[in-house]
């Protein structure tokens, strides 16, 4: 059962890591606007537009 001597600390360490991550996210205000986070991801405006020189790929047949 000596395997427990390092497995248990590893398990607890991982758990503590998760706890620390949660507390950090709470502190940095990530739980202040839950609905906003859900819809912000749908906003494409922050994605750089594709380079203009690249030609439009022809539409695949059978798809709209």
């Amino acid at each position: 059962m000596t395997v427990l001597l390092y497995l248990v600390p590893i398990a607890l360490g991982l758990g503590l890591l998760g706890l620390a991550a949660f507390l950090w996210s709470l502190k940095s205000g990530q739980y202040d606007d839950l609905d906003g986070a859900a819809v912000r991801i749908l906003d494409d405006a922050d994605v750089a537009p594709p380079p203009e020189t690249a030609p439009e790929p022809p539409p695949a047949p059978g798809r709209r």
Partner: protein
């Protein structure tokens, strides 16, 4: 010329020199609005950051240094199509935000330790029936102890603090048995661990904390969301005043007005402060203060109250301290007395705790004595007695009420009712009599056109379109008819007379009958309906006089019928004169009514009803209703109510319909029934578990299964307090015209 708006009272400055301004924004309805606003503001010079909070419909601006003018941001938002109202989060809201974060941290710690201890405990339980060695079990128990002790000390604080406070006040709340149970479970387990025993209850203690914290976090989150909506609505009412001093006129928030300041009140504005008229003559509508619908003429030297509406002329008012005004002082004194009486109300959960705690503690004591008498050793007798305390630790009992409360508050929110006090659901549910104020409660706060069918639709459309250019209260009421019309370009308002415009070569006038040359017709209409007020319209040679009067809320009759069908006694208590009150009572079929009530009269009547054993739900909006709202068993106010009235009410309802009041009472009754049922389930659970524990058969495994099982059952039962979805959908469609942004209604249940 409109006065400069001064936002400085809303700007907060951090010690680091960073400024911050919060705005409640109207019109955020979809995800795209976030990008619109944030990108639209990003180009403003010297602005540090603009971040939209979509949950609360707010915008936070931060910047450092002096280079940024927040007014520019408000203007830019207006160009983008969003109306922004500056506000400072109320003290209450800040406290609640901090409390939510604290509870979430506790919940995280309890969750982490509950999971890890359960991992170790399950190993021990399965090892106990197979081949675990003494050393391994001790190791696991010690590991559990190392996790549990700091976790309980940290995550148990919300309960320990409340329990200590309750004991200091010599009262009993659910937190006392919870704290006792958790401490005993941890203490006993530590003792057993030191003595290499088979059983430890660390998992029970931590799991109990986790479940209870979960209930509190949800409760708190619901309350915060309600508070945010209420604060936004408050900000949107735009409580500002125009102060005139040597630097000219400035528009400042009402809170920044000091006694002695000269405040300019334009016609159509609400007087924002208590004070004395220095200059100007006008009529004021005091219906929000006294319930009186007739106008009152005022002039220099006359005292005016905050909340009254200035109808006709511009006034200069010197602000006085609120306590100077006799009516306000009387109202405040009555509210204070009434609130004190109400604070003695004992919540259902606390009443349960008062019965529960002594029973359980005596049972544990008897168990210990019983086992000693039966010849068991002191150690064994104590272990069994503590096991009784652990298994009875009121997990289900303490969840029974809050879980239902959360679900009911969500349903109420969707129905357009915002709860203001935590025990409002229980108190509203217990009521058997509904007392309505008339002005602004049964009737709409603004006058409405009396007989729409009588008027030519084209003429009405033109009159209402012209009315959009005026600030006069009657014109504002008429402008409500102008659905989707744009104001005429070049309309000119003439103070004390009306508005005039030349459109398509024809002159149009809207204003007093004299201004339009229609005195005779106006006199005829007013003779037929003395409660009405007339506003005249002339276009070329055609003229029309519109009668405007206080109108009942569109569904007032329906709601009154609903209450009567459910067996409520109904009554109207109004500060208005006899005529209008009698008319409203007759229209609604309410036999019991009183007119010309002063605040003290209302309280006396409520006290008389209380003495008869009736529990009154008071619904009112005026400043004069505030003491009655505080004195009644439970109370509700429309969101348009006077400040003091809102502060005294248990719940606010939104929109121009009265339906939320009926829906709120129904939801509250259902929720109370479920709360009682849940308490019953908790009692049944204890009746099964306690004999087992007294007989000494409870192991940590049984304790864990029984506690989580009963918690899950009461939580599932609490979910029944939700309203039927399909019924709700139909109602929200019917209420498309309510003041709540549709997005808030739709989102409330998420």
């Amino acid at each position: 010329m409109s006065p400069a708006v001064d936002l400085s009272a809303f700007v907060e400055t951090a010690p680091s020199g960073e400024h911050r301004l919060d705005l409640a924004v109207e019109g955020i309805t979809c995800a795209a609005c976030i990008g619109d606003i944030e990108r639209g503001l990003a180009t403003l010079p010297a602005l540090g950051s603009a971040r939209v909070n979509y949950t609360h419909r707010r915008l936070a601006l931060t910047w450092s240094g002096e280079g940024f003018d927040p007014l520019a941001a408000v203007k830019r938002l207006a160009e983008l199509g969003y109306r922004a109202h500056p506000f400072r989060p109320s003290r209450q809201e800040e406290i609640e935000a901090a409390e939510t974060r604290f509870l979430l941290r506790c919940l995280a710690v309890a969750g982490f330790s509950a999971m890890n201890i359960m991992l170790l405990s399950v190993s021990v339980w399965s090892g106990n029936v197979t081949d675990i060695t003494q050393e391994t079990r001790d190791l696991f128990h010690w590991l559990s102890a190392i996790i549990a002790l700091p976790a309980v000390a940290y995550a148990g604080r919300p309960f320990f603090i409340n329990a200590a406070r309750a004991l200091r006040n010599r009262s009993m709340t659910m937190d006392v048995p919870i704290s006792l149970g958790v401490c005993l479970a941890v203490g006993l387990s530590l003792y057993e661990t030191i003595h290499s025993a088979h059983h430890a209850y660390f998992d029970s203690a931590v799991m109990l904390l986790f479940f209870l914290l979960l209930g509190r976090v949800l409760d708190q989150a619901m309350r915060r969301r309600t508070r945010a909506v209420a604060d936004n609505l408050m900000a949107m009412r735009g409580e500002t005043a125009v102060v005139v001093d040597e630097n000219g006129a400035r528009e400042v928030p009402v809170r920044a007005v000091r006694p002695g300041d000269s405040v300019l009140v334009r016609p159509g504005d609400r007087i924002a402060v208590d004070g004395v008229v220095v200059e100007g003559r006008s009529e004021v509508d005091a219906s929000l203060v006294t319930g009186e619908t007739a106008r009152e003429a005022i002039g220099p030297g006359i005292e005016v109250h905050a909340g009254t509406l200035n109808v006709s002329g511009a006034l200069t008012v010197r602000a006085t301290a609120p306590a100077d005004a006799s009516l306000i002082a009387e109202v405040n004194r009555l509210v204070a007395d009434a609130s004190e009486a109400r604070s003695r109300y004992l919540r259902l959960a606390d009443r349960a705790a008062r019965i529960y705690s002594p029973v359980v503690h005596v049972t544990a004591l008897l168990t210990c004595i019983g086992w000693l008498v039966a010849g068991a050793g002191l150690h064994q007798a104590l272990v069994i007695a503590i096991a009784v305390l652990i298994i009875t630790c009121p997990c289900a009992l303490a969840l029974a009420v809050p879980a239902t409360q959360v679900v009911a508050a969500g349903s109420l929110f969707k129905a357009g009712v915002l709860l203001q006090s935590p025990d409002a659901v229980e108190r509203i549910a217990a009521c058997d009599t509904v007392v309505f104020d008339k002005t602004g409660t049964l009737t709409l706060p603004e006058p409405r056109i009396a007989d729409r069918g009588r008027h030519d639709p084209d003429l009405l459309a033109m009159a209402s379109r012209l009315a959009l250019s005026s600030r006069h209260p009657l014109a504002v009421a008429l402008a409500a008819e102008a659905r989707g019309l744009k104001p005429f370009a070049g309309a000119e308002e003439r103070a004390g007379e009306g508005v005039v415009v030349a459109a398509d070569g024809v002159e149009m006038r809207l204003g007093s009958p004299v201004f339009c040359g229609l005195e005779d017709e106006a006199a005829r209409i007013l003779a037929a309906d003395p409660e009405a007020t007339a506003i005249a319209f002339r276009r070329g040679d055609r003229g029309e006089v519109f009668a405007l009067r206080q109108a009942l809320r569109p569904d007032a009759k329906e709601v009154v019928e609903t209450f009567r069908a459910r067996g409520y006694a109904l009554m109207i208590l109004s500060g208005d004169r006899e005529g209008p009150v009698a008319a409203a009572a007759e229209a609604l079929g309410i036999d019991a009514w009183r007119s010309a009530c002063r605040p003290a009269d209302k309280i006396a009547l409520l006290d008389a009803m209380k003495a008869e054993g009736r529990k009154v739900l008071m619904v009112g909006d005026g400043l004069n209703d505030a003491p009655a709202l505080a004195a009644a068993h439970a109370s509700m106010s429309p969101v348009t109510a006077a400040h003091v009235a809102q502060a005294s009410a248990d719940a606010l309802f939104l929109g121009e319909k009265l339906a939320p009041v009926a829906a709120g009472a129904a939801i509250a009754r259902k929720a109370l029934a479920i709360m009682r049922q849940n308490l019953g389930i908790a009692v049944v659970y204890n009746m099964i578990a306690v004999p087992l524990a007294m007989a000494g058969h409870v192991t940590p495994l049984i304790a864990a299964a029984a506690m989580s099982g009963s918690s899950v059952i009461v939580t599932l039962n609490a979910l029944r307090a939700r309203e039927d979805r399909s019924r709700l959908l139909m109602r929200s469609r019917r209420e498309a015209g309510s003041v709540v942004p549709p997005a808030i209604e739709a989102r409330a249940g998420a």
